[in-house]
Symmetry: C2
C-alpha cells in the first residue's frame, strides 16, 4: 500500500504543484505524528519540513521521524525563507480551509514572488480512504464508546445534571485508553433534546423526558461518534412515535448504503421516509458525515452534497427528529465502507430504553 506521503505527492503532481504547505494540525499529526498545537509543514517532491516553535523542541524530536525539523523564533514561515526552501519560481499550494487570512497575508509577504495557490480537500480526500491500521484505531474508538454506554445508564436519574453524565462519559473514555472526548459531549434532556447540538448543561433531568446522548472518543488520533436516545420514565406517546420513526430511518439508511453511491441518494432514503410521516421539517440537518482524524470529514452526506460514499471511508448515519419544546430523538451509527462489505462499527442496541 502506498504510504501517505506518496499519495500526497501523486496529488501534487496532478495539480502541478511543487509543494503543499500544510497548516491543519490534524494533518500534521496524520502525516508526521506531530501532536503539538503550533506548526506548519511543507511537503516538496523530495523533502518534508516541519516548522514549530521552541516549546515543542523536545517533543518534535521524539515524535517526528519523517521530516526535517525547523524551529521558528517568531513567524513559522521565516525558517522556510532563511533556509531557501521556498524559492520565487515555485508553485506552492496551501490549505485554504485551514489557513487564516492573517497567516496567508503573512505568507504572501514572506514570499511575495512565489505563486501561492489555494487548494481544497487535498489531504481530506487522502485521509478519507482508511488504511488497515486507521480502520482498526477507529474500531477501537467505537468499541470504547459502545462499552461505556451501559455503564453510564445507572447515573441517568431525576435531579441529576446533564453535565454530570458528560463527566461520567469523559472519565470512562480516558480510563479505557482514549485520549479524550472527540467533541463536546451532548447530553440534551427534555426540551433541550430538541436542540440537535445541545451540549451538556447544568439542566437537571426529569421523569418523562427523552435524553439525547451524542458522544465519541479519540483513540490514537481516530474518532468515534455515536448517538443514542433514552427515556427517563414512560415517555409521551408523540415522543415514542418520533423514536420509532428515527429508529426505522436509521435502519433504512444503513441498509441502503452501497459503496460509491451518491451521498444525496443515501440522505434521501431517510429524508423521503420522514417526509411520508410528516417529519420532513423536523429532520433539520444532514444524514451524516465522514469520520476520521477530524470528526466532520468527507464525504458530506446531506441533500446538497456532491460527494460519493467512497470505498474505504467511514461514515456516520444519524437521522433525527426534533420538535420545539417537546423534545428530540437522534440515533447515530458509524459504518466502514468496504469494497464488498459494509461494517457496522457501533453495534449497540437501538430499542427504546425506558429507565426507571
Amino acid at each position: 500500500m502506498p504510504d501517505r506521503l506518496d499519495l500526497l505527492r501523486a496529488h501534487l503532481q496532478k495539480m502541478n504543484l511543487d509543494a503543499l504547505l500544510i497548516s491543519s494540525l490534524s494533518h500534521l499529526r496524520y502525516l508526521f505524528s506531530f501532536s503539538g498545537s503550533s506548526g506548519i509543514a511543507l511537503v516538496t517532491k523530495d523533502d518534508c519540513y516541519l516548522v514549530t516553535d521552541n516549546r515543542y523542541l523536545e517533543q518534535v524530536k521524539t515524535e517526528v521521524k519523517n521530516a526535517k525539523i525547523l524551529i521558528a523564533i517568531r513567524s513559522l514561515f521565516t525558517p522556510l525563507k532563511k533556509e531557501n526552501i521556498i524559492s520565487d519560481k515555485m508553485h506552492i499550494g496551501f490549505e485554504a480551509a485551514h489557513l487564516t487570512f492573517e497567516r496567508f497575508a503573512h505568507l504572501h509577504k514572506t514570499f511575495p514572488a512565489t505563486q501561492l495557490i489555494d487548494t481544497e480537500n487535498v489531504l481530506e480526500s487522502i485521509v478519507m480512504s482508511k488504511q488497515p491500521d486507521e480502520l482498526e484505531k477507529t474500531r477501537q474508538a467505537c468499541r470504547i464508546a459502545c462499552n461505556i454506554f451501559p455503564e453510564i445508564l445507572p447515573f441517568i436519574k431525576p435531579g441529576v445534571g446533564e453535565n454530570e453524565i458528560a463527566a461520567e462519559i469523559s472519565y470512562r473514555f480516558r480510563m479505557a485508553g482514549a485520549e479524550k472526548e472527540a467533541f463536546d459531549i451532548i447530553v440534551a434532556s427534555g426540551w433541550r433534546s430538541a436542540l440537535p447540538h445541545g451540549i451538556a448543561s447544568d439542566k437537571k433531568m426529569q421523569y418523562g423526558e427523552f435524553i439525547v446522548l451524542d458522544f465519541g472518543c479519540t483513540y490514537q488520533g481516530f474518532n468515534s461518534d455515536i448517538t443514542r436516545t433514552v427515556a427517563l420514565g414512560e415517555p409521551n406517546p408523540e415522543l415514542k412515535k418520533m423514536y420509532n420513526a428515527v429508529k426505522r430511518a436509521n435502519e433504512l439508511a444503513r441498509a441502503a448504503v452501497q459503496p460509491e453511491m451518491s451521498a444525496v441518494e443515501l440522505d434521501a432514503v431517510a429524508r423521503d421516509f420522514f417526509r411520508e410521516l410528516g417529519y420532513e421539517k423536523e429532520f433539520n440537518h444532514s444524514l451524516g458525515h465522514g469520520l476520521g482524524i477530524d470528526v466532520h470529514s468527507l464525504p458530506r452526506i446531506g441533500p446538497k452534497s456532491n460527494d460519493k460514499i467512497a470505498i474505504g471511508s467511514i461514515i456516520t448515519i444519524e437521522p433525527g427528529v426534533y420538535k420545539s419544546e417537546l423534545g428530540g430523538v437522534r440515533i447515530e451509527d458509524d459504518l466502514y465502507i468496504g469494497k464488498d462489505h459494509t461494517e457496522l462499527l457501533t453495534p449497540l442496541d437501538r430499542d427504546l430504553l425506558i429507565l426507571e
Copy 2:
C-alpha cells in the same frame, strides 16, 4: 459601564468601519451568548445580525436576545446578501485571525464591490479588560481548579498512567460545575516533564520523577490556567535545584507586576533571574499570556511582545525550566491586574510536594 457592543461600536467609528464581521466563535459567545459551533455575526452602527444554520434554529432563539437571527441554508454569508444588509458602499471589517482564506474568498465573491478590511485584535482588546461579572467568572474557574488539586494528589502513584490523572481532573471539573477543561490537560512525568506541552499520555508515573500538572477549566465561558509540579518520591538534586529556581522566578515576577508596565519588562524579571543561574536556555517559552474567553489572549508576555500589562486584564505568570531527558518544572499562577491592586486568583501552595 458601557456594554460590550457600545465598546465595539466606538472602535468601529475610530477605524472608519461601517460594520465588523465576526467569525470567532468565542467572540460570538461573548457578544451574543451564542454557544453553537457554526455562525457569524455582523455588527453595524445600529444593528446586530447573527447567522447560523438550521441545526441551531432552536438554540439560537433561546440564547440570543440582542441580535437579529438569520438562518443560512448553505453559505453563512448568503442571508446578509439576500436581506441587503451589506451594500456595495460599505466598509466592512473582518477578523483576519479568525477567518480562513477559503471563507474570505467566499465573502469576497458574495460581496465583490464591498470594501473588506482586515482587522486585528478589535474584540481581543475589548475582551482583555474584564468587567466585574467576567472577573467573578474567572475567579470561580480558578477556585474550581485550586480546589480539586489536593483531591487528585492521592492518585499520583507509581504505575498509574498520566491519562488517569487527566481523567480525575476532568471529571472533577465537570462535577464542580465547570463546562469542561479549558485546554488539553498536561500531565507530564519524568522525561516527559521536559516537554513544556506534554499532554497527558499513557506513560506510567514512577518514583523519582517530577510531574508537571497544567490544567484549567471553563466556567460560564471564562477560563483558568494553573500549573503545579510535584515530585513522586525523593527527587534528583538537580531537579530540586530547578524547582527552587522556578518557584523563586514565579515569586519575583508576581512581585514585579505593575499595571501598565511593558510585558517585555515583566518577562525580563524571570528571564534575567534564570540567566544568572545559567538556566536561560532552559526557559524556552514566554513568561505568560492574557487569559479570558480564550485561554491564550492579550496581553502577550514574552521577550518580543509589544503589549502592556493592561489594567483590567487577567494574566498568567508561568516560568519554567526544562532539561532534556532529566525533566522539567513549571509553576503557573493567574493574576487580575486591578488599577490599585493585583489579585492572585490561584492561591495554591508552591512549596515542593514530595508524594510518597
